[in-house]
């Protein structure tokens, strides 16, 4: 969850949504995100909705927070009484595995009881490499989790130090292997590239170790220096050098080259999955990118309900919860929605989001009406795959992926 909440209109205290959207929810796939806003310490680059014990004091108690989550689930069911069973669940943070495993189990169980869980549902939790044990993993499996996502960031100790991560490079790899051995078919490692002090060789080693850990999924993010973080302050003071766009582009190309040569295929700008592992692509994240419905539970979490595609004037609703666990729990205890604000999306916004999300996917974006000449120009400039274009889709090349935002802006311009 990014740090800043958007500006929107106020949300109604009872969390009600327009009737059309509530009814449409019966016809659209539904996913659930659960936010656990606790971390043992804060990493230097992180601006997520997360709190350390020192920051929270008495509000850091896990039990009341989980209780509040369960209350939000009941509220959600009242707002959308009729939905298909959940196709995916993602527990993120923060550090979900700071909770006793029984609490994670309780959360999942409650979701199952409230919304139902599809038989083949993907159920992911993020996990902290340095505290994971075989017993914890075993208990997660028992509870119904099917996928583990681990933050590795880098194989280079000096890069981890810059990022102020607490784990050592080997821990993430060992945790991933442990998860595989425990029986998780789907394990992800997150990497960050372009950190101050990272060399090509450092990055190459990170990629090699990730693939060597036997995971079937990898996310690689360029370092983003978010305002207000310790990292931003260090760069401002000149203690660290900000990554340049050219270095970031080099690293990305390096990743694509290595991963594609080692059995991984990109399916989104920052995500790769093993070709030979069915179900390796993260279905939960695909739900975001395809504009499915999802309910985000917990502090700072965003939710999205879209109109049935058959509706004449498409509309959708997105809202986001308050950021502090104390406010969150207090609102739910009073029987109110924890939403801090919301926005109603009209056809224009929906179309913009459709372009900006669809163009990031390997499945591609159907060439928008009237943009054939843009598409042809992009193919000529090596920005989209000719093969995709032959099927009427814009599928970005490596170069195109690196310029995806600029290309979306081109699509948003009036066709000339």
């Amino acid at each position: 969850m990014p740090g800043q909440l958007p500006l929107g209109e106020p949300a109604p205290p009872d969390g009600r949504v327009p009737q059309g959207l509530s009814q449409a929810a019966a016809l659209r796939p539904l996913s659930a995100y659960v936010h656990i806003p606790f971390c043992a310490s804060r990493c230097g680059y992180c601006d997520f909705t997360t709190y350390t014990p020192a920051e929270l004091g008495e509000h850091g108690a896990h039990q009341p927070y989980v209780q509040a989550l369960l209350q939000e689930m009941l509220l959600a069911r009242r707002v959308v009484p009729d939905t298909p069973p959940l196709q995916s669940v993602f527990v993120g943070g923060g550090t979900p595995t700071l909770l006793p495993v029984a609490q994670l189990g309780r959360i999942l169980e409650h979701l199952r009881q409230t919304f139902g869980l599809a038989a083949d549902a993907e159920v992911t939790t993020e996990a902290n490499p340095e505290t994971l044990t075989p017993a914890y993993l075993e208990a997660l499996l028992q509870a119904g989790f099917t996928r583990i996502s681990l933050g590795m960031q880098s194989a280079a100790p000096h890069v981890l130090a810059v990022l102020q991560r607490q784990h050592t490079p080997g821990q993430a790899v060992r945790a991933a292997q442990m998860a595989r051995q425990a029986g998780f078919a789907h394990v992800n490692l997150d990497l960050i590239y372009g950190s101050p002090g990272e060399s090509d060789t450092d990055w190459q080693r990170s990629l090699e170790q990730t693939v060597g850990a036997g995971v079937d999924h990898l996310s690689a993010y360029s370092l983003i220096v978010e305002p207000g973080t310790r990292l931003a302050a260090q760069i401002r003071r000149g203690e660290l050098a900000a990554p340049t766009p050219d270095v970031l582009a080099d690293r990305y190309e390096q990743a694509e080259k290595f991963l594609s040569a080692n059995g991984f295929l990109w399916y989104e700008v920052s995500n790769w999955a093993r070709e030979d592992s069915p179900g390796a692509q993260c279905r939960h994240n695909l739900a975001y990118w395809r504009g499915d419905n999802w309910w985000g539970f917990g502090t700072g979490a965003h939710s999205h309900l879209g109109q049935a595609p058959s509706a004449g004037q498409p509309s959708a609703l997105r809202w986001w919860n308050v950021r502090h666990p104390r406010d969150y729990a207090a609102r739910l205890a009073a029987g109110h929605s924890p939403a801090a604000g919301r926005e109603l999306l009209g056809p224009g916004e929906i179309s913009t989001e459709h372009l900006m999300l669809g163009l990031r996917l390997a499945s591609g974006l159907p060439v928008p009406p009237g943009r054939d000449s843009t598409a042809a120009r992009w193919a000529g400039e090596g920005l989209v795959e000719p093969a995709g274009l032959a099927e009427g889709r814009l599928v970005l090349t490596v170069r195109g992926r690196l310029l995806a935002d600029a290309l979306v802006r081109d699509l948003l311009d009036e066709p000339s």
């Binding site: 958007p6 766009p245 310029l403």
Partner: protein
């Protein structure tokens, strides 16, 4: 200060305008550097002659501006009639005529001087004479004016009256003790100045019976009254209700009102030989009542005009564009209004691919440009971008045709046989220790030394002939910085010269950008090209493709820089909580894109044009190129 009721220097029953014998009239102006105390002396003279009360006279210039604002009219005293009793006990009329103090208005100054028989040379006793003062003094001497030298501010602790009296005496050619010493602030010595004017400045001469001839020395637009024309009658009489003829334009008008200023306008029946006053005909545009023109009577016209009339001729041109394109009609309206009061301002619409719709404006000089631009911005609330100023070139191509080029983009494309550029005669006054620095500067601007004179052992007058193009950008700033602010500059146009000039174009991704084209000396073309290309490389954001920036003379590229293609423009993460933020960012960027100017396929932020135009010097000093 006190005056007896009928002794010398006291107020007298004033002589009636229109009936004052020419022998009792003295017409004079004050030649002074800005801040050498001209306004204070003028106010003091108004006070002791009783035209203003002492208390009013102490109210300084700024207060007068306030009055102007309150009344919404212009009461600038272009000429004030001062009654004064001479040492001989006779009543006199002293007409004090204001002169514009700006370097670009030499012609206007010369017309004001032509309306006078004498000039008070006012010099700060702590600073000595300045270049512009000297130039105006020479102009006055060429017009055969009697000079009354005066040192002001003798009450200042830093005053060196003996030293500067010697300097002034040396320049004017008088005895040191003939230089009057006054303090306009305290009033000390001011009556002596008035007496000296009566004693030394000749009375006007003219023929009362001849056909009327009057010289226009100023012409001001007033929102309520139309154009107020200031005149000096040379021959004959101008009487209310007569029809007058403007001798240069042949236009005739009725004299709705004639009068004198004392210090408010006072209508009078007529103005006779030697008199100074104003007239109103109801015209709305100062170009119909031009400074330097001769007024005569339509019924009994003079056959020959007074000499010295010149059409104002713009020497410096620049494109003015509204920052916000929708302000274009506002700019046109503002220029139309300014022109009512500025006969020298010329403009015509032009279109720039880079800057949109604007006007190519012609000015008398740099200062005139600055004044006009400042007035447009301040009085009309416009945000403007101006192209680099350029001069007028006369370009002959090989087939013999000739082009007058006021905009580099109009430079002929064919084979050029000859190019002529305007030159100026510059006078620099400076402490002698900066001679080296000044010569170095002038030399680097293609200057030719004309001569050098010591005004005193420490002060020197240096004369250079320079191409006007070499001073239109930052010459004055450079001169000031190289002499710690001590040097002063004056110049006047001095014909033209043939020069080895070329047009340098700047191409962005192969497309010429008209706003950056410049005509420069061949030896400076490379420096200009490199400087601008380097600057643009820093200012133009990376695009999806590589953008070459080239400086070229014709088809020959003399400098090249490249804006490398942008390789990464994508946010790494776009999950559930990122979507709203990211969509809003895209919407914002889309808005930002609208403010981009397209040069071919290259998106250039308007700020880049502004920054590049404000930081370039077409006449860049090639030996010391800025990095």
């Amino acid at each position: 200060m006190s005056h007896s009721s009928n002794g010398p220097g006291s107020r007298q029953p004033s002589l009636d305008p229109g009936h004052s014998p020419a022998s009792r009239i003295r017409n004079f102006c004050i030649i002074a550097h800005i801040d050498h105390g001209k306004s204070t002396l003028a106010d003091r003279m108004l006070g002791i002659t009783g035209v203003l009360s002492e208390r009013q006279a102490r109210a300084q210039y700024l207060d007068r501006m306030d009055i102007e604002r309150e009344r919404g009219i212009t009461i600038k005293s272009q000429a004030v009639r001062l009654p004064w009793t001479g040492l001989d006990g006779q009543p006199y009329v002293l007409n004090m005529i204001d002169t514009p103090g700006h370097v670009d208005f030499t012609y206007e100054v010369s017309r004001s001087l032509a309306a006078c028989e004498g000039a008070v040379l006012l010099v700060d006793a702590a600073q000595g004479i300045e270049a512009q003062t000297l130039a105006n003094l020479y102009l006055a001497m060429e017009n055969d004016l009697t000079i009354v030298p005066v040192l002001n501010k003798i009450d200042l602790p830093a005053a060196q009256p003996d030293k500067y009296a010697a300097e002034v005496a040396g320049i004017v050619g008088c005895e040191v003790d003939e230089v009057l010493r006054v303090s306009a602030k305290t009033g000390q010595g001011v009556p002596e100045v008035l007496h000296r004017i009566i004693q030394q400045v000749p009375a006007p001469t003219g023929v009362a019976q001849a056909p009327a001839r009057a010289l226009i020395f100023d012409s001001v637009y007033d929102a309520y009254r139309g154009v107020v024309t200031y005149v000096r009658v040379v021959d004959g009489t101008l009487t209310q209700r007569q029809r007058i003829l403007m001798m240069s334009t042949k236009a005739t008008h009725e004299l709705l009102e004639v009068g004198v200023i004392s210090p408010e306008p006072v209508p009078v029946p007529s103005l006779g030989v030697g008199e100074v006053g104003y007239l109103i005909t109801g015209v709305k545009d100062v170009r119909q009542s031009r400074v330097g023109d001769t007024i005569t009577l339509a019924s009994a016209a003079a056959t020959t005009a007074l000499t010295g009339y010149k059409d104002p001729k713009p020497m410096v041109f620049a494109g003015l564009y509204p920052l916000d394109g929708s302000d274009f009609p506002l700019l046109r309206e503002a220029l139309d209004k300014l022109q009512l009061n500025d006969a020298a301002l010329v403009y015509e619409p032009e279109t720039s691919a880079a800057l949109g719709f604007g006007y190519r404006c012609g000015f008398l000089g740099l200062l005139h440009l600055e004044i006009v631009r400042e007035r447009l911005e301040r009085e009309f609330n416009l945000d403007l971008i101006s192209t680099a100023p350029n001069v007028v070139y006369r370009v002959q191509v090989e087939d013999g045709r000739e082009f007058i080029v006021t905009n580099p983009s109009e430079f002929p494309t064919g084979k050029v046989a000859q190019i002529h550029e305007p030159v100026i005669r510059a006078t620099v006054l400076s402490p002698s220790e900066y001679i080296g620095a000044i010569m170095e500067l002038c030399q680097s601007r293609r200057g030719t030394l004309g001569g050098m004179d010591y005004l005193s052992p420490e002060r020197v007058e240096i004369r250079y002939t320079l191409p006007l193009a070499e001073i239109v950008y930052d010459f004055f700033d450079q001169l000031k910085s190289k002499t710690r602010g001590f040097a002063s500059l004056d110049y006047e146009i001095d014909g033209e010269q043939q020069a080895d000039l070329v047009k340098v174009d700047i191409l962005l991704h192969g497309e010429p950008v008209d706003a950056f084209s410049a005509i420069v000396h061949k030896e400076k073309a490379y420096a200009y090209g490199v400087q601008l290309a380097t600057r643009l490389r820093e200012l133009i954001p990376r695009q999806q493709f590589e953008v070459p920036i080239q400086a070229a003379i014709g088809s020959r590229v003399i400098a090249r820089e490249t804006v490398r293609a942008m390789r990464k423009d994508v946010l790494a993460k776009c999950y559930g909580g990122d979507i709203t933020r990211k969509r809003k960012l895209l919407e914002k960027q889309k808005e930002g894109k609208k403010r981009m100017k397209m040069v071919g396929r290259v998106e250039v932020p308007q700020e880049a044009f502004i920054a590049a135009l404000s930081a370039t010097r077409p006449a860049a000093d090639s030996s010391k190129g800025e990095k």
